[in-house]
Amino acid sequence: MKKNKTLVINSARCKACGLCIHFCPKKALSLCGEFNDMGYNFVQSDQELCVKCNTCGTICPDVVLKVVED
C-alpha cells in the first residue's frame, strides 16, 4: 500500500533564508505575507505541486521542514 506523505512546516523556526525555495525542484515553496514571532515572513508550500522529496528538509538550516509518513 502506498504510504501517505505530508510536508510539515514548523513556521515558528523559519528565518526566511530562501534556501528551500532555491533548491525545491518543483517550485512548490514561497515566502508568505505573514510573520512569525521572530519577525520572519516564513515559508509556505503549495501541496499540489509538492512531491514530498524532502530536498527542502535536507538543506533547511533551521529544521523547519520535514516530510513525514503515516
Binding site: K15, L19, M38, I59, P61
Partner: protein, 243 residues
C-alpha cells in the same frame, strides 16, 4: 526525536551552516542510540551553541582546547562517545597543535571542524581557511598569499598519520552534499565506536553574515569557489562502510 530540542529556535544567523551540522549530529546520535552516553565538547565561536539544542551531556572548553578536554573525557569514560564541535578559527588556528597531536596519537575521539573560512562570532575576521583575495575586516584588501600564507589544508595535513581511522572533507553546499555529509559523519562516529582510532571531519559551511553575502549566493560560493581550493574528499576510511 529525543535528542533534538525542537522547541528551542537556533540562535544562528539565517542560512548559517551550523544549523545543518547540528541537525545531522542529532539525527545520528538518535539513530545510533548514543544519547545516554554521548558528550559533546564545544569550542569557542558560533559553533559553541551546538549543544544548546540537544538533550546530551556537553562541556565547553577554552578556545582551541576542546580536543584535550575530549581526550580526558575519553580516558576517564572509554565506553562513552565523545565528539568535539569546533570552528575553523578554534580548530585550525589556536587549536591546531592539539588537533595534530591527537590525530598522530590516534586518540579515539571524533573531531568535527565546521569550516566557514572566517572567525564568524567575532565579526568575520580572516582565519587560516580564508581564501586568497577574500576580503575580511583583518585583510580589507583581500587575503594575500605572500603576506598571510595560503588557506591551510588541515585535512591533508593528517593524511599520512597512522593514528587516523577516518578523515574526510565534507560540505553542506547542496542537498546532495548534505546527504553525503551525513554518511561521512556516520563513518567518523563508527570509527570511534569500533575503537579504530582518531576520526576527523572537516565540514565546509557558509557564514553568510561574515562573508557579507546573500544566503543562496553563499551556498553557491561554497559549492564552487571554496570546493575548488578545498575539495570534498574522503582521505582515510578504516571503517570500510559506504560514505
Amino acid at each position: 526525536m529525543k535528542t533534538f530540542r525542537e522547541e528551542k529556535n537556533f540562535s544562528w544567523c539565517p542560512g548559517c551552516g551550523h544549523g545543518i551540522v547540528a541537525r545531522l549530529c542529532a539525527e545520528l546520535i538518535e539513530e545510533n542510540n548514543l544519547r545516554d552516553r554521548t558528550c559533546c565538547v564545544v569550542g569557542i565561536g558560533c559553533g559553541g551553541f551546538h549543544h544548546h539544542y540537544m538533550e546530551i551531556d556537553a562541556l565547553e572548553a577554552a578556545h582551541g582546547r576542546s580536543i584535550p578536554v575530549a581526550t580526558g573525557y575519553k580516558l576517564g569514560l572509554p565506553d562513552n562517545f565523545v565528539y568535539t564541535l569546533q570552528g575553523d578559527g578554534d580548530c585550525a588556528s589556536i587549536g591546531l597543535a592539539e588537533l595534530m597531536h591527537a590525530a598522530n596519537r590516534g586518540t579515539p575521539i571524533t573531531v568535527i571542524m565546521v569550516n566557514n573560512g572566517v572567525f564568524g562570532m567575532t565579526g568575520g575576521q580572516m582565519s587560516p581557511e580564508t581564501l586568497i583575495s577574500q576580503k575580511t575586516p583583518t585583510c580589507p584588501f583581500g587575503r594575500d598569499a605572500k603576506l598571510h600564507g595560503n588557506p591551510l589544508k588541515v585535512s591533508e595535513m593528517m593524511q599520512e598519520m597512522d593514528g587516523v581511522a577516518y578523515l574526510a572533507r565534507l560540505s553542506v553546499a547542496t542537498p546532495t552534499l548534505v546527504r553525503k555529509a551525513k554518511k561521512g559523519l556516520a563513518q567518523a562516529f563508527k570509527a570511534q565506536e569500533e575503537k579504530l582510532g582518531f576520526s576527523f571531519v572537516e565540514i565546509l559551511s557558509p557564514c553568510p553574515t561574515g562573508w557579507n553575502m546573500k544566503v543562496v549566493d553563499s551556498y553557491q560560493r561554497l559549492a564552487k569557489e571554496v570546493a575548488e581550493i578545498l575539495p570534498v574528499k574522503e582521505f582515510i576510511n578504516k571503517v570500510g562502510g559506504e560514505s
